[in-house]
Amino acid sequence: MKNTLILSSSPHIKSPETIPTIMFQVCLALLPAIFVGIYSFGARAAWIILLAIVSAVAFEAAAQKVMGRPISINDGSACVTGILLALNLPPTVPWWLVIIGSFFAIIIGKQIYGGLGHNPFNPALVGRVVLLISFPAQMTLWAFPSHPLFAHVTDTLSGATPLGWIKTHLMTHATLPTTLPFNMLQAFIGQTGGCIGEISALALLIGAAFLLWKKIIPWIIPVSFIATVFFITGTFWIINPEHYLNPVFHVLSGGLLLGAFFMATDMVTNPVTKVGMLIFGIGCGLLTSVIRLFGGYPEGVSFAILLMNATTPLLDRWTRPRVFGEVPHK
């Protein structure tokens, strides 16, 4: 028994939460989406997810080694980035694309800035957007969920996500068809085309509920993000339902839930103040809606979040909370 006393200044107790426990719980919360992805797209999805995790962690370790920094892959953040990247890829991507995505996510998106905490942009989204711009063909080749439950679904949708289908349809038609080739229930449980992790709103909501319950993520950002998209797309839909999609589809598909609950909430890249978070969420929703309704891409969650990431330092500066006892300046 050592008889020495330890010295340090107060406080002498600390909450049990650490960076690894946060990252672990985020991974846990992503499990339902991972499960649905693998169930729907088969072993190929599992392979992509695994490859993304391993390559992300490997790139992190390699970068830290080269730069002479302590290796911190145990903190779990590279693992989270790998999973998020994979969940944001179509199940058809070739393996080398996954590696390129990981490289950009970890090296360009994170390590060159100085590692976890210093990166201004969400690393997984950096990886995804680089791929989206550089390899548009591979990144929009969709497969349809192939498990037996979906045998009855018509072929019209195969090879497209709901939002992509709408965009393409509107290029050649003036109005939407009276019956869509997908319904709300399908979009909710995950019977539509899309990225590995985005198809099932249900799975994402289960994970999100867990993170909110554990207070890992603040509710302000996802709620304001989703509400803004719902409100804007809903307004257009009410004005002209022949041309615009029902807002419920906008919320359930196109990676909005994945983005709002798991990427916009990336703590490193969003504001630390409550008001800042609110503006951030609304901004994400606004940009997503504008891109979806008027832009060239069928969905816009990734771009919207990245753009808002860039505003984070300003939002933090402009939305300093009122100091206790501070009289508002006249």
């Binding site: 050592k2 006393l5 010295l7 107060s10 107790i13």
Partner: protein, 444 residues
């Protein structure tokens, strides 16, 4: 009553179960006591005894120097053995008077003062000043100063603080359970002095027995005191946060005082001392403290003579039960870590906490991951993450613009930070640096 919650706050385990049920015990008279001349905020007291002098328990041995200062009294009967440097709670040496006990006779109170409430209010303050009473919740600000607000700051609200929001500590809780009448009487005296319109006794909701007992006592005595159960949240007992909760007004940022919003806050321990001083003429020579933590063999609530070395108390409680980790004077959130067991109990010592080695984590601070948790919990509405970074890079003027000096050093930010950044520690450093520079600039 409608409460006005303060922003932020944290919910650590309160750990009060270790001692909340234990009756306060008297400690045996120590063989010698060491009474630091500075047990309060303000100028150190001036010794009025010499080495070799005989002193009786309760004798004044050092006198307040100036208005913001406090008298010191002999806590035992004995002989002054030395006046010189002795280890203090802050880990430094400071002047103290050593008394060797020769006789264990207890303090003999004067005749009971019966006519207190018929005396003019102002005449009560000298009793308090004479008794050397200071804020016993830990702030140690001289009480007679706090009870003498300037004419232009009338006091509307008197708030008695029985919140005891620091985890582990149960001294105030026990005091309320064992001396409800005396506390009530003390409150009445303070009220007489200040003439406040409203009087509140705030107790944290995790002490339902104390709330009930105090409510009953107030009713029985027909006193005009509102006993208020405040939600359990740290730092609910911090002065500014408590005032906000009870009366809904915020002490102005940038150096405001409670009296700026017409409030005075007194801790229940202080209130008890005021009762003893006025009613019995008893100076502040002892206090109740909690010896606790999973590191100590038998946790206790104790009545301890001021100046008793920590070692004596540790021996009385059976010493360490586990491998020693930290020994803290005060609570785990704001208490001060000790390495020298000769350190004496002083007027501000609310507890002695022994944390076993395995409860003392070793932390390697990570870069801020900007999670915003520190911002959410800061009860002062500050941005501890930025203050920490500014301190780290010696950007003191930026830190000042971000209200560095309004930090109350409650430690909530450090507690919550998942990156284990020593935020309040960095903030304290920056505060010291800013104040030092200001002083230097003023002297030029």
């Amino acid at each position: 009553m409608i409460l006005h919650p303060f922003p932020g706050g944290i919910h650590p385990n309160d750990e009060k179960g270790l001692t909340a049920h234990l009756q306060v015990e008297d400690t045996p008279i120590p063989e010698r006591v060491f009474l630091p001349l500075s047990q309060h905020i303000g100028a150190p007291a001036q010794p009025v005894v010499k080495v070799g002098d005989q002193v009786r328990i309760g004798d004044k041995i050092a006198e307040a120097r100036g208005f913001v200062s406090a008298n010191i009294h002999a806590s035992v009967t004995g002989v002054v053995r030395s006046i010189g440097d002795y280890p203090n709670v802050f880990g430094r040496l400071s002047p103290a008077i050593e008394i060797e006990t020769t006789d264990d006779s207890p303090f003999q109170p004067d005749k009971k003062r019966e006519d207190v409430l018929s005396l003019p209010p102002q005449t009560l303050i000298p009793f308090i000043r004479e008794a050397g009473i200071v804020g016993m919740g830990g702030a140690t600000f001289p009480t007679h100063v706090k009870l003498s607000p300037p004419e232009d700051k009338p006091i509307q609200s008197l708030i008695i603080n029985g919140v005891e929001c620091e985890p582990y500590l149960t001294a105030d809780h026990r005091l309320m359970l064992e001396h409800p009448l005396e506390i009530l009487e003390g409150i009445v005296y303070i009220h007489h002095i200040l003439g406040a319109r409203f009087t509140y006794l705030a107790i944290e909701a995790n002490k339902p027995d104390a709330i009930q007992l105090m409510e009953e006592t107030v009713k029985k005595e027909d006193a005009k005191i509102n006993v208020i159960s405040v939600p359990k949240r740290y730092p609910q007992g911090a002065e500014k946060q408590l005032i906000k909760t009870i009366i809904g007004r915020e002490v102005p940022a940038g150096g405001g005082l409670p009296m700026d919003v017409g409030a005075v806050v007194q801790n229940v321990g202080t209130t008890f001392a005021i009762y003893e001083a006025i009613r019995w003429g008893k100076p502040l020579i002892e206090r109740i403290l909690t010896v606790t933590g999973r590191g100590v063999k038998s946790p206790k609530n104790l009545r301890v003579r001021l100046g008793t070395p920590v070692q004596d108390i540790l021996d009385l409680c059976g010493g360490w039960k586990t491998e020693p980790g930290k020994l803290i004077m005060g609570g785990p959130m704001m208490g001060i870590n000790q390495f020298d067991l000769r350190v004496p109990v002083t007027k501000g010592t609310s507890g002695i906490l022994l944390l076993p080695r395995d409860e003392v984590g070793e932390y390697h601070p990570h870069t801020c991951i900007r999670c915003g948790r520190c911002v959410t919990v800061c009860p002062m509405g500050l941005l501890p993450n930025f203050l920490g970074v500014f301190s780290e890079y010696a950007r003191f003027s930026d830190a000042e613009r971000y209200h560095l000096l309004d930090c109350i050093e409650c430690g909530s930010c450090t507690y919550i930070c998942p990156a284990k950044r020593p935020l309040v520690q960095m903030i304290r450093y920056a505060k010291g640096e800013v104040l030092r520079r200001r002083k230097k600039a003023a002297n030029k």
